[in-house]
Every structure is written in structure tokens, then in C-alpha cells.
């Protein structure tokens, strides 16, 4: 990852941390927890590949994440990431808005989920990794 990208993620991490600390209402919006009851938070860039972000998420004990995507216009969108195996019951019938069977940039996932509110709407499958994304919401709208 380029130094500039690391710096952008670092700055966005501070922005998100401040947003979470600002009010318990914001903290309550971190709905994704791992097996330890922790709430993992992962930052990503709009132009990052899903595979790179999935690698970072694999560092969490899960891997689950409350995912925040820094867009190129500096807005930040929030959503949830969960491995596919845990997202659906065996018997569940779930239709996805979009399914990607290749490596995609995070911006594509964000745009594909923009129309959905709560449901797990996007599935990305790349190699051994298959993940589901709940819809992304603008952090500014979450106040």
C-alpha cells in the first residue's frame, strides 16, 4: 500500500474513532460483533481491491467487521462485512442484489449496495473468500 493511502486510512481511522466516541448512539450503530463480543472496525479506500480489504479483515478475530469506506470525495460510508458461511442459515433463501465472482474495487461494492437499507445485499466471491456486505450508509447521515 502506498504511503499516501496509508496516511489517508490513518486519518479516516481517527475521524471514525472520534465519531464513535462522540455519542453512545454512534457506538450503538456498530452492529457487527465477533465471537469475543468485540466490535471490529476496519477502514478501506474506494479504490482498494476487495482482496486487500478482506486480507485486513482477516486480522480481526472473526473475521467480521464494521466496515467504513473512505470515498474519493472524502465522504465515509459505513456497512457490515461478514463471511458468507455465517451470514446465511443453511435453509435460508436469500437473494442478492448483486453477486461478484471476481476481485472488485470497494467502490463497486458501495455503489451496488447504495439502494439497500438493512438486508445483506451483496456477495463477493474471490478464490477461497466469500463475503457478504450489508448496505453502506453515509456516516454523515448516521448522526
Amino acid at each position: 500500500m502506498a504511503v499516501d493511502d496509508r496516511e489517508r486510512i490513518s486519518q479516516a481511522t481517527r475521524t471514525v474513532a472520534n465519531w464513535i466516541a462522540e455519542s453512545s448512539d454512534h457506538c450503538d450503530r456498530l452492529v457487527t460483533t465477533n465471537d469475543r463480543g468485540e466490535r471490529p472496525v476496519v477502514l478501506a479506500l474506494e479504490d482498494e481491491l476487495f482482496s486487500a480489504v478482506a486480507h485486513r479483515i482477516s486480522w480481526t478475530d472473526g473475521p467480521y467487521a464494521n466496515l467504513f469506506v473512505l470515498m474519493n470525495d472524502e465522504s465515509i460510508l459505513a456497512g457490515s462485512f461478514m463471511p458468507s458461511a455465517s451470514a446465511l442459515d443453511d435453509g435460508a433463501k436469500h437473494e442478492f442484489d448483486t453477486e461478484f465472482h471476481r476481485d472488485v474495487r470497494m467502490g463497486e461494492i458501495v455503489r451496488a449496495s447504495a439502494a439497500r437499507n438493512d438486508a445483506v445485499a451483496i456477495r463477493v466471491t474471490f478464490g477461497e473468500t466469500s463475503a457478504d456486505f450489508a448496505s453502506m450508509r453515509d456516516l454523515a447521515e448516521a448522526h
Partner: protein
């Protein structure tokens, strides 16, 4: 010749007594972050992975939706896959302070005398851990 009503020793004693009364009143009025057990049910623990072996872990406590206590740790993963604090900033004991690897004593950052101090110190505390995490991890590894 009648002496002055107060000699130097008496004046010093009176000054000390007055100062003790004022200090006691200030202490009584001083706001302190509550124990985490007195806060609203915790929203849990928030983690931010930094690498495969390091993460930030923070505990936030709120009263009336407002931040009243925080701790922000840089944690490193041990060989037995457990997480261990390498450095931590928290606001226990009415004092924002940092615990760093290998240092026997805490280093004070600022006193907390009112609730706003918790929120006002949060960003700088977070930045200190985030900006120095690789150095703290190196010190933690060196000390093991």
C-alpha cells in the same frame, strides 16, 4: 510591649490551614470519571486491526450518551494467540495518563476536573497511540 496579634509562625500556620480548607473544597468539587460499573451498559469493546500482530482496542463508557471514560490500548498478539497491552492511555484516577512498555511508572498527560476534559482529550490520546503504534510494538517485543 504588647506583641503583634500574629507572629510569623502563626501567620504561616493560618495560611497553611486556609490552604488546606480550600484544597479540600476543591477536591470535593472536582469531577472524576465514574467507575465503569456506574456507567450505562457498555457498548462493548472496539478493535481496529493494524497488522496481523497489532491492534488498537478501546473501551468507551458513556453517561447520558456522553463520553465519560475511555481507555485506548495498543495490543500485540502473543505466541499463544492472546492479546496483551503494549501501551495504554486511560483516564482512571482523574488523570489522563499513559502506560508504556518497560516504563515502571505512568506518565501523566492532563488532569481531569470536568466531564468535558474526557472528550477534549480523546482525539489527542487516540492520535498518540495510532501515530506511535509501531514504536510501542517494537518496545514491547524488545522487552519480552
Amino acid at each position: 510591649m504588647a506583641g503583634r496579634p500574629y507572629g510569623k509562625q502563626q501567620r504561616d500556620r493560618a495560611r497553611r490551614e486556609t490552604k488546606a480548607v480550600v484544597d479540600a473544597e476543591l477536591e470535593a468539587e472536582r469531577w472524576c470519571p465514574p467507575s465503569q460499573f456506574d456507567c450505562e451498559p457498555s457498548n462493548g469493546t472496539i478493535t481496529i486491526p493494524l497488522s496481523a500482530t497489532a491492534r488498537i482496542l478501546q473501551r468507551l463508557e458513556y453517561e447520558a450518551k456522553r463520553l465519560v471514560y475511555y481507555s485506548i490500548s495498543l495490543q500485540c498478539r502473543t505466541r499463544s494467540e492472546e492479546w496483551e497491552d503494549a501501551a495504554r492511555i486511560d483516564c482512571s484516577h482523574c488523570l489522563v495518563h499513559i502506560h508504556t512498555p518497560g516504563a515502571p511508572n505512568i506518565v501523566p498527560i492532563m488532569n481531569i476536573t470536568r466531564p468535558e476534559d474526557v472528550w477534549n482529550s480523546y482525539d489527542a490520546s487516540y492520535a498518540q497511540i495510532l501515530d506511535n503504534w509501531e514504536e510501542y510494538e517494537r518496545q514491547w517485543n524488545h522487552g519480552r
